[in-house]
Symmetry: D3
Subunit: 293 residues, 6 copies
């Protein structure tokens, strides 16, 4: 299931809050988009992981996302281990995105900033021609040390021309499926060779850092808000003051003010902010957007 | 003589060294480009201001520049005065560029960083609807204080509907002409209303700051080098070791290494670096250039 | 007319947009507040300086400001000259604020960032015990050079015990009066000795810089919006799309989104952002506001 | 044993050198303070872990600290593992501080900067309602992988309503006790529910970074020096030149000069520097301390 | 085999590209230099680890390096684990460098920035007097947890005076040998006590950060290029356009432009850039190199 | 009176507080040092300009300064005008320093940061071969505009070979003399051709910025303190609490703590901090001072 753009985030509903408008806009432009949630949300105060899965699928439909899955990394414990990197790298090889959207590398929630580093290093590993990224996770628990060992032997097997077979037999893929058949992905996995995204950008909405660029989501703003509201177990049936969750109107006011704030930076109504590490490359200086003065 | 892009620099031959390739590339794309040199180079160790004027015209032809003029601000003494701002603002109103290229606001040479601030503030003034920017400079020397007074009275005359006439009668325009008839500019001046450039970017080639973006000048590199060599009084007839000026081969090696260095940042052969103060605005994240990883 | 807090800004209606809520909140706490507008707004596209004066007085009433005046520095031409510094220093000596609020030292509009530097240096001069800040401006135009000369002679006259008299005779004070009698100020001026504000803070609302602190203006937000709407010649009788000025609803949406954005940083609904250059000093770490995690 | 303020540091005697004056000042204000040392100092060149424990208790008395314990993380090997995070999170749940003081996140000693990250993430975990933080460490050595497994099963047990019982039975708590009975803490642990500190601040004394704020410790300076001198095995019985440890007078001169340096920043005699990541929130701008000019 | 300067890098041929000129220059000054490659390059697209070993030895000869070894950390998987830190610390104790050169702590390749952190922390550990750094790696796989345990027991054995013997018996050293006899190193290891480098500097050639200082390699540039070309399996027998590897002339052009770019910063022809975290210490301000203006 | 090092500062006694130890150390190394005070201190609260002149000469003797003069720029009104730049440039041509020490370009006192910019631009102008820097100041007051005119004509006269004579006849030099005969300087002036310092460094003692390097002044600290105490009218005959000036012991404590703070950064007892804008150039990495770890 190849996609053009893959957003990787720590928790279901993170993407809806940071770059959901951008994903929808890209889908409207004809690109295939995907979301990889690293955890399943079992640490959330309200609702079960199963509720979240159903809601995540609803949100994906609203944002016209072509592919969405969740890994089973423990919620609240996203770690940048070799094993997790291999798991994410495998998803990248299967989905083969040109652009990967990661959370910003700083943040309040450790899962968020760790997801950023984990995602980056997985993008790197996914492009190593000689690396076998398939990880047998269950039933035998693999220690990090064991993963090291396997990496070395995987390399050895590559040299011996054995890696294809061992990869096909690796079985479980460490992520659940939101509307996609296991068999399809397994078949794809068998063919997934090395792949490195061309571009990695960082969604910065929840951190007060100046963005490199913003994406105008004026026409996508309402749908993005609805995609967040699809997480009914989190947001829908509560009232302000009664709970630690703010009411729907308060959430909307906050989301609107942030989108507008970043929109004002670029002279549009609503926008989502991003960072990239590379310099830009401009072909025609007369068409650079955003007024200077 | 309207242009699409106007590069403002302190000295003749500055533009050739910082953004000449970009100007040529823009001309090749069909845009009209212009250069405003604030001084005439009388402080240069070699050659006269007249030599420089002829050489500047030659360089302009190589870079396919449509319009080039030099003000008579004293070389080595570019000041951000009200009078100088009005003079530059007048040029901006006459040439009406969409993009203005300024030197970076830091630098070794005071003329360079002052030109940056002067150029920025002139862009601002040029857009004030009620401001009369025409400045009678010669023969009566105008003190800065007098300029203040005139500004106030100009405002008054605008309110009374008198400004058009007084502006037409203002005479000298404070800049010399490289291939353009005085009368043409004077006629234009009569019609030049408020104008503010949409975009201001800063050429940073001679400062070790990370650029916001670069422009690929691989195809323009040779011509840009020749445009600099057109300053024969500066560069042509000397030998290394005999002079404070480096030999042609040394200049070329330096220019090439800088262009290549910035090119490598963006995956192209040669490039020129720029800074912008605004955030970017991206329509389609799948077409952002420059590889991340 | 001493005040506790003096906000200095380039243009009438600047303060309403950057720190009006804070000024009102301080007045509600029982502090006396003041506003010094450096210019009178004659460059504005709509309305006259007289319209602006009346509107500024209305806005001042809404914000419960005790003192508001406007200098006659030309609009669009705020310069950090010795003369302007002396004029502002004189206001500081007369109003004797403990806190001065200045615009941020970077910005789009040259008047804004120059007002910041001018205001800072005026605060410094106002505290020099031996400096006579009274400036005879009209009718004889004083050049900057003459101002230098006077400064030196003023110093001499101080040494000779003559300064009090010459200062009393200096006449005009370089600012107009919004609801305050000339005589009162003149009398005050005669007694105004050296004064340096204890604290200088910078209002940063229109610049994307991370603030040092914000002030909660949740309860003042509506009044602040009304104070801006008091500038009827600018904002009231127009419709979006017809004009370069946005409609009232658009202005409100922008103002609300910015105030909410900075409020979210500190866990309150609406806030205004400020910068200070000094480190903070905390007495009790258990009462530092704003949640960390 | 709940405290208002908990300082977490890598080594015994770290807190005495970075924020001991602040802890004492807070105790004098009536707050309960605590210190968690992550290691027991067995890598120190002089003295045993037992010496350090006794000295740490003496220092705690001088600083009027209500609670002090040391974990048994190996000295020189503080790692930000899941297991260590759980252990520290358990302490946070038991001590329930409003403010946590961490080392700065940069530094010369890896234990220091790792303690900063470990402490932050432990604060985060301590607030997750569904997370069981109790870790069975001895006698069976738990690998990181096993800790992952437990986290998942802990979550499962929470869903099944079983977590309270299993937590009570977890036994050892991974830290030694300086003057507090094991039983008391064990009893407390049984009741310790989720808790997240309101504020996290970073002590920056040994890093040349500009602090966000300082705390005036003029009246606590002498006691703080004595608290450091309580580490007799480290500091007392040696002479300068004979040892890698500087003499008492040299230590005092250094400590005094640093405290004075940061004091001068805020206009007081002695101070300790801190960083916070959040913006400030000011109620009354007339009472912001520290002179600007 | 003590050295004066030890460069630590993730991959064979990294040092050749970042600080090879500096290493050669130091050798020409009479210093002994060494290179520790953390991996053996088995992930490289072309050539085997054996090819790399032979090529690395050739490059070392060209750069007059006295000592070069490669650890067997898996290529693409350099992790900052306790075990890896101990292994590198052991090398530092054996080679006893005054200066360690590390990669910059940011970068595109995770192995590079992780090598930087790993190298730093190994330098720290190598200086802990009570720490036994010898690690039994094969045949029994040591988990990180086991390493923790060993560290604690190592400490215990130090106290009991037993560490010297157990260290001698530790056997394998976790690195391969490029031209040095195993026995010599083993003998040395027996005597290697605690050692901490005086200076750690960071080679920044592949990252667009402003260096703290550069080293003039004008006279070493050609040899450095040849040392890179010694990696024949990577660079020699290919043509541009046919491969992902650029042709020799392209590599040379890039290397030259970078060396020249940094050279121009300091007024020399070719240079390599470095960062240090400490402030400088200047004895005589009249001999500070690099022209200011 | 050529010097090797020239320190330029706004006020008498500034140099004593920021880089006096460095100046003395350089004198002890055999270099000739000089001080240019831009103002004469007439704004000081205590003592007259004459008192200051005598005290400055005493301080200069203590610091073994070879040359010290004061310009007559008004105290509290140091402006970066063309005229002031020419005056300072003339001093630079006469004293021909290799190193110029300027105040840091940020600061609390406007005279300090303006002196920094003025000094930098004067260094630049002093090196322009065609520029005549001699300024006729008294008796006819020269406006800035007139200075512009003169610059242009000076250039013309240079071209015509007339500049030498006109420069000799220029008379007053705009600075007073502390122990040097007017005639000597005048004679020197006649020969003073273009000169640009090789190095410009910035003394940062009174600003909390991280220095590029420090200079060890352990052996010069006492003399530096005495040089400040030479300003008896400022510091000697007062008592703490009675005055805005702190007592001698308090001054010493502050000066000591700052010198020690910067000393600790580099492992020495006392030091003075400096900034340079250029990168460093290191010949031998084994002799870079200041321990890393």
């Amino acid at each position: 299931m190849p996609v053009d753009i893959l957003a990787i985030a720590a928790h279901r509903d993170d993407v809806e809050q940071t770059c959901g408008g951008t994903l929808l806009k890209m889908a409207e432009l004809g690109h295939r988009t995907g979301i990889l949630d690293l955890t399943r949300g079992e640490m959330g105060t309200r609702g079960s992981a199963e509720d979240r899965e159903r809601e995540a699928a609803d949100a994906a439909r609203i944002l016209r996302v072509s592919w969405r899955e969740a890994l089973d990394i423990p919620d609240g414990c996203v770690e940048n281990t070799w094993e997790n990197r291999l798991t994410v790298a495998e998803v990248i090889r299967q989905t083969r995105p040109r652009v990967v959207i990661l959370p910003y590398w700083k943040g309040r929630h450790p899962d968020h900033y760790t997801a950023s580093k984990l995602g980056y290093e997985a993008c790197f590993l996914a492009g190593l021609a000689k690396l076998d990224v398939s990880v047998p996770r269950a039933p035998s628990p693999a220690t990090e040390e064991a993963a090291f060992g396997r990496a070395a032997s995987a390399v050895a097997s590559v040299v011996a021309g054995e890696d294809r077979a061992s990869r096909q037999g690796s079985g479980g893929h460490g992520f659940s499926h939101a509307g996609n058949a296991q068999t399809e992905v397994a078949a794809l996995a068998a063919e997934a060779g090395p792949h490195r995204p061309f571009k990695i950008i960082y969604a910065t909405l929840y951190y007060d850092v100046r963005p490199t660029f913003v994406v105008d989501i004026t026409d996508q703003f309402e749908a993005r808000f609805e995609s967040l509201m699809a997480y009914k177990s989190q947001f829908s049936d509560q009232q302000a003051g009664k709970d630690i969750f703010p009411a729907r109107s308060e959430i909307r006011a906050r989301m609107e003010s942030m989108a507008r704030f970043y929109g004002m930076m670029a002279g549009v109504t609503y926008a989502e902010p991003f960072l990239q590490k590379e310099v830009g490359l401009v072909d025609d200086v007369t068409v650079i957007p955003v007024k200077s003065i």
